[in-house]
Symmetry: C2
């Protein structure tokens, strides 16, 4: 049989050659729903904080990223020369684009500018669990407000995002630090310039790098592991800014989520003040979000002084964390149930009434209801099976009797008969909503 032959011999090599790239994801409907749940939650909390949504291009000039991070960034970039002979890169992060956009038009906006964005990012990384080459990020920034009250607003928002996902106290913590505390401490020891950067890099890798290596790096920079550890043990007065943030969160009843942790320095030289990370409290102790103050970046990229702070949360780690946390997963599943269901499934019990049924489908949809039906003739039993599959709350049956329809609740098969012309109002009532729309 040619079809069988094709199934066994034809498609395999083809499919192999054209399969998706490693580190990229196919969002089949059931996975896309999960992605949308994460987006919806991010967007909902951002709206409560009255942040405005923006978006930047997915492709930018490679120099934009070099300006911020230097030449080494290109190791992780999907970058190339376009047909117009420009060096371009698929964005690995949003902040350089934000700085470019803000510098160009900040005069048009009242300060502080509270902006957020949700979109895809690209990094050429070795694939491993939770590390993909295409991923989504939620970016939230406050521009034009130098006070630590802006940092506090962002920390509060990060906490509310976690709570909105269904996480609770004990599931996660915010670790807060201030790079200025480190800079002061280093200055007291006469450590500056490259040596200071080396110390912060070593601190950033503490616990992830061999201790002997860290100790050697610190010695080369003019300090010791013991000195560093003693400083990191500080649990109060990390900095006046950090203390003010803590007070602000206490007023909101949110300081229970806060921990001091001078070990948080956030790698690159980019941050200028307070920095923070959201951690899951579990074996993983993964960072699920991170951010801080970066008052110099807008100037570096766009030549305009503009105070700034922000944080980003990726979809991959938070998705895994939700899957592993029963009470967060339950909230996701509630959302999915509502999202995937339909309001009614229209069943053509008598083919001579198909046109009437189509008119019914259309009228219900026009009123905003989510309506499904079998596109072509099927036995009534099969149509009911399709209604179950479509997670319909009601079946609307166009049967033998002209001018009337039967509405059956899919849960208990209880039946309501009504005139065809009254379908929308009767069904709306059964669904518990008004039919005015």
């Amino acid at each position: 049989m040619p079809i069988l032959t094709k199934h066994f011999h034809g498609p395999q090599p083809m499919a192999e050659k054209l399969e998706k790239l490693p580190g990229f994801r196919d969002f089949y409907p059931e996975v896309c729903d999960l992605r949308n749940y994460v987006f919806d939650t991010w967007r909902r909390v951002a709206a409560r904080y009255h942040f405005a949504e923006y978006e930047a291009p997915i492709l930018e000039r490679t120099d934009l990223y070099r300006r911020k991070s230097g030449e080494e960034i290109t190791e992780q970039l999907f970058h190339f020369v376009d047909k117009g002979d420009r060096e371009v890169a698929m964005r690995p992060e949003l902040t350089p684009s934000l700085a470019r956009m803000a510098a160009a038009r900040q005069r048009d906006y009242r300060k502080p500018m509270k902006w957020f964005s949700i979109g895809p990012f690209f990094r050429f990384e070795r694939s491993s669990k939770g590390r993909l080459r295409e991923f989504y990020q939620f970016n939230c920034d406050v521009l034009g407000e130098p006070s630590e009250q802006a940092d506090a607003e962002l920390v509060a928002m990060a906490i509310d995002v976690m709570l909105e996902f269904g996480f609770r106290e004990g599931d996660f913590a915010i670790r807060l630090s201030d790079r200025t505390a480190w800079m002061e401490w280093l200055a007291q020891r006469g450590i500056s310039g490259e040596a200071a950067t080396d110390v912060l890099k070593a601190v950033d890798k503490l616990g992830r790098e061999e201790e002997s290596k860290t100790a050697a790096q610190l010695a080369a920079a003019g300090t010791t592991l013991d000195e560093v550890r003693a400083f990191m043990a500080r649990t109060e007065d990390v900095s006046p800014r950090a203390t003010a943030i803590s007070r602000n969160l206490a007023a909101r009843g949110m300081d229970g989520f806060l921990e001091w942790d001078l070990g948080i320095v956030r790698g690159l030289a980019y941050y200028t003040g307070t920095v923070f990370e959201v951690f899951d409290i579990g074996k993983g102790m993964r960072a699920v979000a991170g951010g801080g103050r970066y008052d110099n970046l807008v100037n570096l990229i766009g030549g305009v002084e503009l105070a700034a702070c922000g944080f980003a949360m990726g979809d991959v780690v938070i998705g895994n964390f939700i899957e592993e946390t029963p009470h967060a997963k339950a909230r996701l599943e509630d959302w999915l149930g509502t999202r995937r269901s339909s309001d009614a499934f229209v069943i053509v019990g008598n083919e001579s009434r198909r046109d009437e049924a189509l008119a019914g489908v259309q009228a219900l949809r026009r009123a905003g209801l989510r309506i499904d039906y079998c596109l072509t003739p099927r036995a009534v039993g099969k149509q009911f099976a399709a209604a179950e599959e479509a997670m319909a709350r009601f079946a609307v049956i166009y049967g033998g009797t002209a001018d009337s329809v039967s509405i059956k609740a899919m849960s208990d098969r209880s039946e309501t008969l009504c005139e065809t012309g009254a379908l929308l109002s009767v069904l709306s009532k059964l669904l518990g909503r008004s039919s005015d729309t």
Copy 2:
């Protein structure tokens, strides 16, 4: 002054060098809102039709596009070799990815699969009005249903999308054709193979190409402009499939939007049956969406037979059309008003009550309200100005008296006093919603 010097001499060359790429857009908040309105409308109508959302990677193997469209497609691609030595391309359209995904997992889904997607696409084109290098598309497809009832469902959906944007009869039309009618007509004349393709290409360009050139192309293929025009004048019985689609839409009360137009052949060889385009009826006569049946593509790409039809609508042309159509624009503006407004602006009238105010902000947000406030101390007048800017419906003022707040309607400054503990319930009532959430 160094700062002035920098403003006049420093930033300009920087900003120039790092500006966005031509044909790409910065979505500042006011533009992003418009984008979100389009997305929201697309998604809302798709939900009513109970289509499931999916998404594919933004980067794919270049061969995926070559398989469908041949080598010439690379002229329009942003394509390059990645660090893993793979030929890759930023997607110029979604259908090849959909075909790849559907072929790999179609057995897991009940047929028909009614799927939609909203995402960005990339084509290296000469910039001109309405032609960008990065744009968004709404893609809707029905897979696994060979009957014309699926085509009809998609045409109905395209019409409902237009109506949901606020367009009316007279603003737009659906032009329906069937490539099989052309194939039969060509076969009757003994025109087949490449000559047949050349005729369809000439028909596709009718009115956009010089008549003499078209006439020469048709003559070379074995027919004439007069013969072609006589065939295109047919206004009924274009094909049995087209007639069935028309009947289906008549049952829904939607056939008023339908026109026969054999001039619609949709360029490439990709389509196998009915094809349609949504046109604005105006001077422009732009196509705002297009689609049709493509029963061979899933097999070509994934080696699996799967009937398919679909359409796509881009954000750029529809955005321009909305802007130019007063009644559609009014609907957009209503949406923007609701979207940009906030429920309340919290005003700290007495700085000693800032902590209380922060607690209030937090409690209201936790209940789902959209709340803004000034992050740092400001005169009460300036806070009211910020409340206006934030399009707040109410101002909540923490003034001189402990344990009570004043709620002022921003519209008429009418005042309601309440105990601090009752703020959420009183404000919810004023906003016309329950405070149960």
